[in-house]
Amino acid sequence: MAEAWQRQSPLARRSPMDDDTGAGLAMTEREFLAKITVRGKVADDAIRDALGIALPGEPNTACSGKDHAILWLGPDEWLVVGPPDTEKELVSTLATALPDAAVIDVTEGYATIRLGGPLAREVLSMGTPLDLHPREFAAGAATRTLFARTTVILHKISDDPVFDIHVERSQAEYLWTWLETASRPYRDALR
């Protein structure tokens, strides 16, 4: 029976949204990214040794390396994001490196939407009370925040208006529909 199964990502039923004009909005699901919650006492050195990147110590920030990003979510909570299909090894690496912390695989618990394009900030501002001006929310900023009727983890991944949004799996379709609907008039206007 071993090969009978298939994995289905939370937004497998939605087609990505392209930004043909380059003036609008692109939206895709980033499937199966490994996502690990780390809670408790975490030594910066241990993380550096394990993943080669620093542990974000400041609220509203993230540290990124080639393969991984670590997002500060709370004074004793981080989200480690890694390439697809690496969650098992990531859990074991982290659990070994961080004996005093709780390391929980939440890969399947969250969906990740990448939103980018000139309209991205505007559309996000329709849902979150967070100030997304580059002065306040620059590349590398990350936080959990309110978004419309749900909670998201927002991560600005570059100087360009490109964001990764992690949302609880069961609400992924809601968020997708919401972003699609909110941006529709502007996408229509670009047609």
């Binding site: 609220p59 509203n60 979510l73 709370g74 004074p75 909570e77 009370p129 967070l130 936080t143 959990r144 925040t145 309110l146 909670t151």
Partner: protein
């Protein structure tokens, strides 16, 4: 729509938080507390008009509880302090 200074995340809209009501209510020893003392702990509240020490939870953010002193009439926020701390004296 208050702007609440989360001790961790900084200023955030009040809708990201849950208010946990009056702070510094001691849970009495259940073995010795009288019915009246237990009722006092469970239900009785200062509910002042003016400065109020209260507990807040950044539910949509860092998910930390903290203390805040706020004027219930003007909604002015006077102090924010750790959940493990007792009320700052200056703020009454």
């Amino acid at each position: 729509m208050m702007l609440i200074p989360c001790p961790w995340c900084g200023d955030r809209l009040d809708a990201e938080f849950t208010c946990g009501g009056e702070a510094h209510i001691m849970r009495p020893d259940p073995a010795t507390a009288s019915d009246a003392e237990w009722a006092d702990y469970l239900f009785m509240r200062e509910n002042p008009k003016g400065l109020h020490h209260e507990r807040w939870f950044h539910a949509h953010g860092c998910r930390r509880w903290f203390h805040m002193t706020r004027d219930t009439a003007s909604h002015r926020i006077v102090a924010v302090y750790a959940i493990t701390e007792s009320a700052p004296e200056a703020s009454g």
